[in-house]
């Protein structure tokens, strides 16, 4: 039994690629592999022409990762967290400080820069979590459910900022349960279930491929069924 089986994807530069699927479908496993957190038992993939086996360090410099959990130090301020994680990407000095201020400002958090993250709301934490993954202007950005559990305002701020990043050349690969959000946000989508890719294409082509489908949710239900998918 494999978490993923026969997965084949080709994500081109500049795409916003959505990985959609029910709980336990294999989305997080796939994204964890692409981020270098899990080693595939077989198969091969490259990022910007590089593979982890030989170019792990190079890949880590060009990718950004926004994990599903708030991967931040709760007792550090937003600024302290970002200065630390930014420095781990090799940024330093005024460049780093300016970048932190700029991104905090863009995501509406500058006035909370010196507050401890543990005092933040879920939406504020999500935005800091996002900034920590994009300070170094990555070529490829991996996001694992970046808008889960946040208010509408925070969700919009995050999506809008991701669109700006994409326009500036960052390819985005993200997982989500918000199908409407994905339909609006993604240029390409793959629906994954039971470790396999069921279908892939642009949102409009996927909707058109299923009879009577009005939106991505209809496509999703028709492919994955209505049965509950509780996963541990």
């Amino acid at each position: 039994m494999y978490s993923l089986n026969n997965v084949s994807l080709d994500i081109t530069q500049g795409q916003i690629f959505g990985l959609l699927g029910p709980n336990g479908a294999g989305k997080t496993t796939l994204i964890s592999m692409l981020c270098g957190l899990i080693k595939p038992t077989s198969g091969h993939f490259t990022i910007d022409g590089l593979d982890y086996q030989h170019h792990s360090s190079k890949i880590k410099k060009i990718i950004g990762v926004v994990p599903q959990e708030y991967a931040l130090y709760p007792t550090l301020t937003a600024r302290e967290n970002l200065l630390y994680f930014g420095s781990m990407y090799g940024l330093k000095g005024n460049d780093l400080k300016d970048k932190v201020i700029e991104t905090l400002d863009l995501l509406g958090l500058l006035k909370f820069a010196d507050k401890q993250v543990q005092t933040f709301s879920g939406g504020m934490k999500r935005r800091v979590n996002l900034i920590a993954g994009i300070l170094h202007n990555p070529k490829v950005l991996f996001l694992d459910e970046p808008t889960v559990g946040v208010d509408v305002q925070s969700k919009n701020a995050i999506i809008d900022y991701l669109k700006v990043l994409n326009q500036n050349g960052t390819s985005i690969i993200y997982t989500s349960h918000h199908l409407a959000e994905a339909e609006d946000f993604c240029s390409n989508i793959a629906i994954i279930d039971q470790g396999q890719i069921f279908t892939k294409g642009t949102p409009s082509s996927l909707i058109a491929s299923v009879e009577d489908a009005r939106n991505l949710e209809d496509v999703f239900i028709s492919l994955t069924g209505k049965a509950l998918r509780d996963a541990i």
Partner: protein, 427 residues
Amino acid sequence: MLYKIWMSVVKEFLLLKRDLGGLIILFVMPLVLVITVTLIQDSTFKTVSDSKIPILLVDNDKGSVSKTVFENLEKSNLFSVVTQIDNKAITEDVARENVHKGKFQLAIIIPKDLSTDLQAKVDQNVEKIVSSLGMTDSTASAEPQRIIKEKEVKLYFDPAVQMSFKNAVMSSIDKMISQIETKSIYTTFQNQLGEGTTDFEQKSFITFKEIIPTINNKEVRPNSVQHNVPAWTLFAIFFIVIPLSINIVKEKSQGTFVRLRTNPVSNVVVIIGKTITYSVICMIQFYMMVAVAVFLFPSIGLPSLNIEGHLFLMSVVALFSGFAAIGFGILLGTIASTQEQSAPFGATSVIILAAIGGIWVPVFAMPSIMQIIAKSSPMNWGLEAFYDVLLRNVSLLEIIPEISLSFLFFILTSAIALFYDQKKRAV
């Protein structure tokens, strides 16, 4: 890389600064520990103690022997002798009951007629010797000798008292009784030999004296502080294992560890950052404890720690012992999945390392197998190095074996942690 290490150190200090509980564990508890333990253990190193242990004395003899025992016990300054409870003379049963209930730690029961029987026995023996030498009074009639049974001084101990206390008390009472017997023999001889005989010199002919080692013409006299401060400083330094392992486990549970794994930063950098931070903490702990031992101890009735000319080497020992503790903490934090695993295991293992390292019981007093095991405890290496510096006045060269072992332990534990982490890191 240096900037990444610097930022890791800054981050670690910020995390510690914001953790009040952690700071108390790191800085206040070691001070409380070293003061408390040194105060308690101080009396065992003093020849004269300020506190007296109340003991019960049941005098069924009412003679010169029991009087001498009473006087000697009082004079010893270790005990205060209780002969009455509620204004009533104590019987053996009352004494036994009180001791078994733990109200008193010791009861001494002096048997009936001890003085008269002792004197009679000595008289008989001396008479025998004198007559064998032909010095008997010719007019004295030969009376049949009565049989005198051996006498027994009973000791009741509180079951809770430690064996070392029991042994010390039994040894001192044995010595006291021997002296009384000897004195009786001398006195009887003197009486038998008649008036006009020169008094016997009853002072001990053989005495002993401890020769205190001298360094630079100064005596190096060990005291409770010279022994306790290094031992408990090491114990405190090793307790850094707990906050350090919790720090690493928290990084895993918070997700920051996962983020770092996706960053272009080696785990070696993260470990170096933690090592530098916690080494500084260890040294602050060490200097705080030394400062307390030098400046505070004299004002609470304890001897001051003599660090004259030793501070540099003591610092070296503290630093390398700190490395050993940090290596162990990193390994524990890397392997443990939860704080519930790392904290109790860390605490217990530090206590075990302290026990086998000779912090409580000197290694020379351990069973032979434990003495071998003790040599494998990083705390023993640190303790031996501290004693070498403080009490044996050695040079840096002579502590190199011990500090090298501590550093090797750090390298080994860190390497295992890195290897374990590497195995867990898939790519």
